[in-house]
Amino acid sequence: MNFIQLFTKYAPTFNEALILTLQLTLVSLVCASILGIIFGMFSIAKNKVLNIISSIYIDIIRGTPLIVQVFIMYYGVGMSILKPVFNISWNELGGVFTAGAIALSLNAGAYMAEIVRGGIESVDKGQMEAARSLGLTYGKAMRKVILPQAIRTMLPSIINQFIISLKDTSLISVIGIRELTMNAKMISANESAAVLTVYIIAAVYYLIICTILSKVAKVLERRMSYGK
């Protein structure tokens, strides 16, 4: 079988796997962005307790491999917390997808928190003072003055994190979710003569999405520049 034949034969499974990969990425990124904003705010807060909570979270996630986090979430939490404490299994909560999405969200959330912190700290502190001196509350000053400026500095790093998270979904294959990588692995089991081709197809899928993401980032960046 040549490349075209192989691709035509397996395209439907790859497309299905692609959708799963994209869903996993999207859900994780939405959750990670929320976590990132919350813990990013925690880390710049005046309250020491919040600072410590955020730094513990970030240190744990950054100091351990994603694959171990996935195992802990799926097997560890599944068997030692969900089953004995709540008498429930991952299957009733949406299965491997949920477990994988939570692990990935928590992972990307920590990196996003660092990006958010860096972005906010990059804004001159006179901006906050000017906004507060007009009578704006801390929250309003954040939303109207600080965050819009911080986003601009954060954008390249955020897109970079999106790309990393997209590729990290491949690690979720270890708990048996049939996303792009798992799909390629399963096909190659039947097509031992075409293992290279099968994995290359998977690689091309990843490459295309990542390239699109970086292009979108470039356009956004250009749109968000003002008055220069």
Binding site: Q127, A130, R132, S133, L134, Q149, Y226, G227, K228
Partner: protein
């Protein structure tokens, strides 16, 4: 006349460093007070305590009848009535000149967007920048930026204006245009507290000059008294250096 600002025994520490060592100041309605003194004397810190941009370590500060050292006072409400102009302008770079001016009045529901646009346009005319409404701050010169910053503060209709070395970051040829706007404001009866190194401005516009050094008020009085006939040795030395 009613006192707009009453400061009693104001103390400010940064960690172990005592920056303000007990200041007593009163500013009357419509009065223009200039704070002068060597750098590090605590002038800016004093000014920033008046709208609590700096936390207050001790003493009492009463603005417009509100005790801002009292924890139950809504500082944001009080700040709406205190305009502040900064040395480095601190315009919002992601907003146009007009948006810089209208954001706070609209956000704080003092005006609708239409009303705020009207007020903004008239303020921009007052500071001579009517044609700059739609440009971003990055496209303005320093003097223009500071004039927009003054318009932004005035858009909230404050009762008091605080100026923190408003001309210190400007090229010399732009100092005049900013001082002129401030002079007009003073003539209109605005209560102003100005930290400045511009002795000419202080002499011409101030009702009262306060000379500070080392966290204390060393000498205060009319411009003629403080600048023309200083009594304290530290004031004399300082004036000899700057004049």
């Amino acid at each position: 006349m009613e006192n707009k600002v009453i400061v009693k025994g104001l103390v400010k520490n940064f960690g172990k460093l005592e920056v303000l060592k007990g200041m007593d100041v009163e500013v009357k309605d419509g009065e223009v007070v200039c704070l002068i003194g060597p750098s590090g004397s605590g002038k800016s810190t004093f000014l920033r305590c008046l709208n609590r941009l700096e936390s207050i370590t001790g003493g009492q500060v009463i603005i417009d009848g509100y005790d801002i050292t009292d924890k139950n006072t809504d500082i944001n409400k009080v700040r709406e009535n205190i305009g502040m102009v900064f040395q480095h302008f601190n315009l919002f770079p992601h907003k146009t000149v007009m948006e810089n001016i209208t954001m706070a009045p609209v956000e704080l529901k003092k005006m609708t967007q239409e009303q705020a646009d009207g007020v903004g346009a008239s303020l921009l005319r007052d500071v001579g920048l009517a044609e700059k409404a739609d440009v971003y701050p990055a496209q303005l010169s320093g003097g223009q930026k500071q004039r927009v910053a003054i318009a932004r503060a005035l858009a909230m209709h404050p009762d008091i204006m605080l100026f923190d070395e408003p001309t210190s970051a400007l090229d010399p040829e732009m100092v005049g245009e900013v001082l002129n706007v401030m002079k007009t404001l003073a003539k209109q009866g605005m209560t102003m507290v100005v930290v400045t190194h511009e002795m000419g401005f202080a002499r011409e516009v101030a009702d009262r000059i306060i000379f500070m050094d080392g966290g204390y008020i060393v000498e205060e009085g009319t411009p003629e008294e403080v600048l023309g006939n200083p009594k304290e040795e530290r004031t004399i030395n300082f004036l000899n250096q700057v004049l």
